[in-house]
Symmetry: D3
Subunit: 329 residues, 6 copies
C-alpha cells in the first residue's frame, strides 16, 4: 500500500488496526476502519449501505491481517481505499511474501545487525568476566523479543526495532564519551569505569521488556509497567540476573553491580522524568546524556519527517512542544 500512487489499484496485505461503529446524523450505523502497513495508515468510512458493510460489521477483526485489492486515493481527508476484494490472510500467503512485519512500521536498520552490533560492543567495551557475561547473557536471553521491540509506546522510536535502534545509539555514544574522558583525565580518582558506562548504555532501558507488551497494533503498558515503571523493572532484571549468575559461580562484585544499578535508576536524571536519583557517578552522567541526546534527536527527526506545515518552520504541536527549523527565510 505504501508504494501505491493516488489513483492506482493493486493487491496488498494490511493489518486492520482499528474499527469504530458510528452513527450518521440520520441515526444509521456506519464504520470507520483503519488499514495499516509498514509505511502508511489509511482510515476511511464503510457506509451502512455499502456492499462490504455486513462483512465489516460481522467478520472483520481488529488485529487481523487481510489481503486486499483496492483503489488507493489521496484526498483532503487523507489517504483512502476503495476496496474491491478483501479476505483474511491465509497460510499460503506466506509463500507469496506475506509476513506480519510488513504491516507494521519498523526501524530502517536490520534488527539482527543491530543486535549483533550491541553484542560486539559489549565484547569490545567490557573485558571478559562477570559484567560482560551478565550483559551478553541478558541480551541473548531476550534476543527474540528485542528484535521487534519498540523503544516506547509513543514519543520516540515507537516502532518495531526501535528499541535496538535507540539502545545502539545510546551505547555507542556512551562508549565514545567514556573512552574520550578516560583518555583525557586518566588520573580521576576513582577512575572512570568505561565498562560500566557501556553496560549501562546497553541495559538502561531493559525494563521496557516488562513495562510494555507488544500487540499487532503497537505497544501498550502492562499493569506493572504503569504501577512500577521500566526504571525499577530494569534494575530488577539486572539484579535477578546477577543473583542467578552468583549461584552459577560467576558473581559480579558488589560495587560494579551497584554502579550498574545506579546508571539505570538515574538515567532520566530528574525526578519528574522518572529517576528517583540524579546521576551520582561519571558513568551515570555519561549514559544520561547519551540517552537524552538520542531521544531528542530522534524526536526532531520525526518532526521534520511528519510535519506538514508550510514555511521555514514546522508547527509547535509535536512531541517537543516547539517549532523546528527546516531552512529558508
Amino acid at each position: 500500500m505504501a508504494e501505491m500512487a493516488s489513483g492506482e489499484e493493486g493487491d496488498f496485505f494490511a493489518l486492520l488496526a482499528d474499527k469504530q461503529t458510528l452513527l450518521t446524523k440520520e441515526g444509521k450505523p456506519y464504520y470507520r476502519v483503519t488499514f495499516r502497513d509498514a509505511g502508511r495508515d489509511c482510515s476511511f468510512p464503510i457506509w451502512g449501505d455499502a456492499p462490504l458493510a455486513d462483512a465489516c460489521r460481522d467478520d472483520w477483526k481488529v488485529g487481523d491481517f487481510y489481503k486486499l485489492r483496492a483503489l488507493y486515493r489521496e484526498t483532503n481527508y487523507g489517504p483512502q481505499l476503495d476496496i474491491r476484494k478483501i479476505r483474511p490472510v491465509e497460510e499460503s500467503d506466506t509463500a507469496d511474501g506475506f509476513s506480519p512485519q510488513m504491516c507494521q512500521p519498523a526501524s530502517r536498520f536490520n534488527p539482527e545487525e543491530m543486535f549483533d552490533d550491541l553484542i560486539a560492543l559489549a565484547e569490545e567495551g567490557i573485558e571478559e568476566g562477570p559484567l560482560q557475561t551478565l550483559v551478553v547473557g541478558l541480551m541473548t536471553e531476550h534476543r527474540d523479543t528485542l528484535l521487534s521491540w519498540p523503544a516506547a509506546k509513543r514519543n520516540h522510536h515507537a516502532f518495531a526495532g526501535g528499541y535496538l535502534e535507540h539502545v545502539r545509539n545510546v551505547a555507542r555514544h556512551a562508549y565514545y564519551l567514556a573512552q574520550r574522558y578516560a583518555e583525557l583525565y586518566p588520573d580521576m580518582s576513582p577512575p572512570l569505569r568505561v565498562d560500566v558506562a557501556v553496560a549501562g548504555g546497553i541495559l538502561h532501558d531493559i525494563g521496557k521488556l516488562r513495562e510494555l507488551y507488544a500487540t499487532a497494533m503497537g505497544a501498550d503498558y502492562t499493569a506493572s509497567g504503569s504501577l512500577i515503571g521500566h526504571i525499577l523493572q530494569g534494575r530488577d532484571m539486572v539484579r535477578e540476573a546477577a543473583a542467578a549468575q552468583a549461584i552459577a559461580g560467576e558473581p559480579l562484585d558488589e560495587e560494579t553491580l551497584l554502579r550498574l544499578e545506579h546508571v539505570i535508576v538515574s538515567h532520566q536524571r530528574l525526578p519528574e522524568w522518572g529517576s528517583p536519583k540524579p546521576p551520582m557517578t561519571p558513568e551515570a552522567l555519561i549514559v544520561h546524556f547519551a540517552d537524552d541526546c538520542d531521544a531528542k534527536y530522534q524526536m526532531m527527526l520525526t518532526i521534520l519527517d511528519d510535519d506538514t506545515a508550510a514555511g521555514p518552520l514546522t508547527g509547535r504541536r509535536n512531541v517537543l512542544g516547539q517549532a523546528v527549523y527546516r531552512g529558508g527565510e
Copy 2:
C-alpha cells in the same frame, strides 16, 4: 546528665559523640568535645593546658562510652561540664545499670510494645494467609534491628525507636482510614483492600533498614542508600520475601504483591519527594496521607519542643521552613 540541675555535680554515663581539634588564635591546639546521653548534648572546650588535655587528645575515642563525675552548668554557650573524673565504661558498669541505650535519644514509647502492637495490627487487619505471613515474617526477621532503628537521619523521628513510633502511627492511621472508607463505600469496584493498606502502612519504610546504617552516634546513609534509596530498597525486600515465600509453598498472588509494591513505590506521592509513581490505588493514597500527616505532625512537635525564640511564634529556621504558632497574641 539529663536530670542534673545547673550547678549540680554527679556521676553518670555518657557517649563521646564528637571530638574536634582546633587552634586558638595564638596557634595552640585545644579540643571541642560532645558528650551525649538520652536527654542532652553537652559540647565544650578542653583547653590545651587543662589537666585532661593529654588524655583527651590521646585516649578519648568518638563512639566510646564513659563514666564521668562532673559539675553541670548552663551557660550562654549552652550546657557545659567541668569534668572531675572520667574513665571508659567497664564490663562491670552494666551491673550498675549502664546500657548504650541510656546514652542515645530515644522514642518515648517502649520499642517492644510498639513492635508487638504492629504485629497485633497485622494479625487483626490482614486475614491469615500469605500476606499476613509476609508482613509478620519480615517484621520478625528484622525485630532486633527495628527495636532501635530511627526513622530518618534527620527531619523526623531521628532517634532510637523512631522507626517503630512513626510506622505504628502510619499503620494505625491507615487502618482507621481504610476501615472507614470500606464501610462508607462498600460498592467501590474493585473493593478497597484494607489488608493491603495495613500491610503497606507497616512496610512502607522497610527499605530504611538498607538505606541507613546505625552507629553509636546516630544513623547515616549507606552507599546503596544514597545511590538507590529506601523506596526502591524496601520494594526489593518485599519482593525477595515474596520470592522466598513462594519457594516455601505459600505464594502471594501477583495482584496483591503488585498492589503492595505500588504502595511502597508511591508513598511519597511526588517525584521530587522520591516517588517515581503517584498513588494509583486507593490503598496507596491512604498510606501516603497517613505517612505525610505523621511526618509533618512530628516535625511540628519537634519544632514546638526545640524552638527558643520568644513571642507567640517560633522562628522559621526549622525543618518545615515556617513559623509555628505557640499561642498568645
Copy 3:
C-alpha cells in the same frame, strides 16, 4: 429513568437541564435537549420536522421539571429517549411522588442523618461553651441549605448532599487524628486543641455557601465567590458569628477564634491551591490532611466509577490527571 432498561418504555419525571438550538448542514434548525434525573443524563436531538419540534422551541424551558412517557434506548451516542408524551409537572404530581430532588444526582447518604451526625460530633468533640455554640449555631442557621448543598461545582462531591458527605468525612477523620495525637503526645506544649480541630473540620468549607449558588441545574460561582473565594468567605462567616455571639453575651476567647480562623485560611496548605498561609498549628495540619485525603479519595472513587476504558487501568483524562489501577494484569 435511571432504572429503565434499554428498549423499555415508561412514565417518569425529569428536569430539562439543557436546550441548545443548532443548524443541520442544510441550514435547518434543530434542538439538542438534556433530560436529567437522580441517576442519569439523556442528551439527544429533536429534529426540526419532528412532531415535538414546535413545543420544544416555544414551550420547553431549561430548569423546569417534566413528566414524560418515553422509550429509553442505549446507543453508541449514549442513552436516548423517544418521547411519546410530555407535559410540565403539575401540583398534583407531588401526590404521585414527584419531588425536585428525584431529578438531581445526590449523595448516597441521607442528608438529615449526616447533618445530625455532624451536630453530634460537635457536641462530643467540643465541650459546652462558646466554641460549641458557634459551631452548632452556624450549622443550624444554614441547615436547610446545607442539606442539599454540593461540595463543589465540579471535581469532588459535586452533587446534592455532597457538602455534608465531604464535611462529615473530614470532621470525623480530624477528630480521630486529633484524639490519637492528643493521647500519644500529651505533653506537647501548648497542648493540641481537639475542639479546634473538630470545629475546623466541620466549618472548613462553610464559605462555599457564599462562593456558590445552587440552581436546579447544579452549582455555579457567585461573583463574590469568584473574586474573593470560599476560604476568605468562610472565615468571614465565622468572624461574623463570633461578633454576634459576643454581643449576645457568649464571647469566644481571641486565641480560640484565631486558631479556628487559621484552620479555615490554611486548610488547602499551598498558596497555589488557594491558602494564603500554610498550616501553622497542629489543628490546621490535621484538618488539612483530613480534607485533602477525602477530596482525593472521592476523586478516585468517581474515576473508578465513571471511566470506561478497557484494561487494568483507567484513562488519564480525569480530575486527577493520572491513571487509576482497577486490577488484573
Copy 4:
C-alpha cells in the same frame, strides 16, 4: 551621631536597639550593644573589665533612649563609639530637642504632608459619596498610627513613614494610569472605575496596621498577622468600615465594595506572593502594577544606597537577589 565624622567627639541622643551577652574565649562575659539614631547604627563591644561594664549589664535597657558623649570612629568593623558619658534621656531633654523620632530611620518626606496628599487625592480622584467617605474615614481614624508606620518589617520602606511614602506613590501611580486608560478607552464596558483604583491604591496595604506592631526597635508581626496576613486583614478593615457606614446611613453599594475588596485581595497577583486571587478587574490590575513597581523601585534605591561592593555593579546578596548596575565599565 549620623552627622559626626570619624574621630569626632560629641553629645547626642540614641536608642539602645540591642544588647547581647557573650563570652570571650577565656570564658569571661562581655556585651555587644547597638546604638541607633535616624541615620546610623553603631554596634560594638563593652568588655567585661571596662568602666561601663557593670552599668551596661545591670542598667542599660533595650528600647530605652540615652544621651551620650562619645568619640565616633569608623573602623574595619564598622562605626564604633568610645563612650565618655551616658545617661538615660530625661524629661528635660525634650526641651533640648530630643524626640524618639530622631533615633529611628525615617522617610525623607514629611509624614503630615504625605498624609494630607493622600486625603487630597481621595477627594480629587473619588467623587463625594460613600466611597470617598469610607476612604477618608479609614485614613483619618488611623491618622496617628499611619504617620509613623513602616511599610514592612523588612524588604522595602521598612522605616518610620515608609507606609505613607509607599502608599502615596502607589496611589498616585494608580490614579495616573487609571485616568490615562479611562481617556484612551472610554467605551470599555463596563467602564473603568477610576474611583475604585484610587481607593484601592490608598487602602491596598491598610491591613499592615493589624499585621504589624511597632516598637522603638522597628516593626514585627502580630500573631494574627502571622496566621492570617495583611491582605485578609485589610479586607476585614474595609468590610468593617463599610458595615459601620451602612448603619450610619451612608451605605456603599455592593458592587463597589466587592470591587474594592478584590483590589486588596489580588494586589500581589500571584498566590505564592500571598494573593488568593489574581486581578480580575481593570482596577485591580492597575493597583497591582503600581504597587509592584514602587516596591521594586524602592528596593533598587536601597540597594544602590547600601551596597559597598567595588566596581560597576553591586553584589547579589540583597533583597532582589541580583546585581544592580551603577555605571561605568
Copy 5:
C-alpha cells in the same frame, strides 16, 4: 460589512482571508471561505452545487480583495453572507473609496498621530544629542512600516497600528514614572536617566520589525524571528544604528548605549518570558512595568470585548487564562 444589520443587503469591499476545501459526508467537495473587513469576519460554506462554486474553486484567491453585493445574516453559526455578486477589486475602486486598510482590523487611533506623538515625546523626554538622534532616526527610518504594524501575531494589540498604540502607551507610562521618581528621589546615585527610560519605552519592541512580517491576512514570524527573537533583534537594530551614527560623527557614549541595550534585553523581566537578564537598572525596571501593565490591560480590554459568556464573569478560555469580572452579582 461591519455596519450592516442582520437581513440587510448591500455593497462592500472585503478581503478573502481564508479558503478551505472540505468534503461533505457524501464525499462531495465544498468550500469554507472567510471574508474580512475592518470590523468583522464572516466564515461560511459555498456548497459544491452552488452557482458560485466553480468561481470559488478556480478563481477566488486568499489575500485578494473583492467587491461584493450580499445579504448579511446573523445565525447560530455566526455571521453569514448570501453573495449576490462578487468581483475582484479594480483600480477604479480606489476612487470609490476602497483601500486595503478598510479590510483589516485596525487600531482605534490614527497611526500618523500616534507616530507624531512618539516623536514629540522623544523630543521632550530626551535632550538634543546623540540619543535623541538615534531614537528619532530609527523611528523615522521605519515610519512607513510602523504606521501599519501590529504589536504581535496574537495576544495583544494584534491589529494594524497596534504596534504604535502599545508603544505609545508604554513610552508615556515610562515617561510619567521616570519623571515622578526623578523628582521624588533626586539624590539617587547614579541618578535615574529619564532619557534612557523614554528611549527604552519607545524602542523596546523595535525588533518586532524583524521578528514578524506582515501580509494581508495578518502578521507571522520570520525564520530569524523564530530562531533569534525580537528582543535580540531589537538590540541589533539599536547597535547598528549607533554604529552608523558613530561613523556619521554623532557617537553615543558607551554607557548610554549599554543602558539602552539593557532596557531592551530585560524588558520582559523573566527568562521564561524571553529576557535573558532581569532589569538591573532603574530605567529597565520602569520600562518593564510600563510594558507589562499595558499588555495585560489590553488583554483584559479584549476579553471584555470578545467574551460572550452570560453572567457577571467572562469565561476562562482567553489569553489571560482566567475570568474577568464584568459587574453585577
Copy 6:
C-alpha cells in the same frame, strides 16, 4: 610552593592574591594574606607585632608577584607559610624561570596544542569556504587571549586555559555526534549540517571574551557581561565577523549564518539557564548536549578532586548540589 612537603623550607615565586586588614579582639589590626601558585593557595595571618607587619601593611600589593623563602606547614587551618624572606619579583627572575603563569591554576593541557587542535578540527569538519574562514579567522584574531582564558568565573573550567579545554571537548563531542547522525540518517530533510555543528561547537562560548575580563587574580564580569551576557555577545562577535567578511568579499550565506547564530543563542537550552530560545535545529541540539555533558563532567571531576568528606560519598555542598559516589560501601 605546590611541591613542598609540610615542614619543608624553600624558595619559590607566588602571587599575592588577597590581603585583608582585620582587628583582633583587643582591637589591634592584623592582616590576612593569600599567596597563590599554580597548585596551591595559602591563607594565613600576619600579626601586627610580627617583623613583616609594616611591610605587609605598606608595601605588599594584591596582584603583585613575590619571591619568597618560607617554611611550609599543613595545619588544621589549612596550609600556612612562615615567611623568612620576601621581595617583589624582579626582571631578572624571568631568567630564573619565573613567569606569571606559574602562579595561576591552569589547564593540564598545553594551550598551544589545544588551540591548534581546534584549528585542525575547523579545517577537517568544515569545508573550505566562508564558514571555515569565519571560524578560523575569529579564533586566530583572539589567539593570544584564548590561550590563557578561563571558561568561567567559577563552576567549571575556571582556570587559565580552561576555555580551550572546555571548547575542545565540546567541539570534538559535537563533531563525533554530528558525523554519526549524518551517517545513520542520511535522508533527513534538510540534511544535518555537520559544518555548522562543528563551527557552533568551536564558537558557542566565544562571547566569554566580552563577558569576562581577566586579572592576575582570576576572571570577573565586565559591565556589559553582566547586563547583556555572553550568549548575546558571542552572537554579536559572529555577526560582526560575518559583516566584515562580506565587505571583504567572502560573504557567508544567510541561512548558514542564521543556523550558526541559533546554535550560540540556544546552547544552554532553557531560558532559566540563559538561552532565549530552545534548540530548534539538529545542530543546536547536538552542541547543547556536548556542552552540557562536558560542563557537568568537569564539575564531577572537580568535586571528586576537591571533596574532603570521609566515606563512600562526597558531601553535597558543591557546584552540583548533590553527593558524588567515590566507591566502597
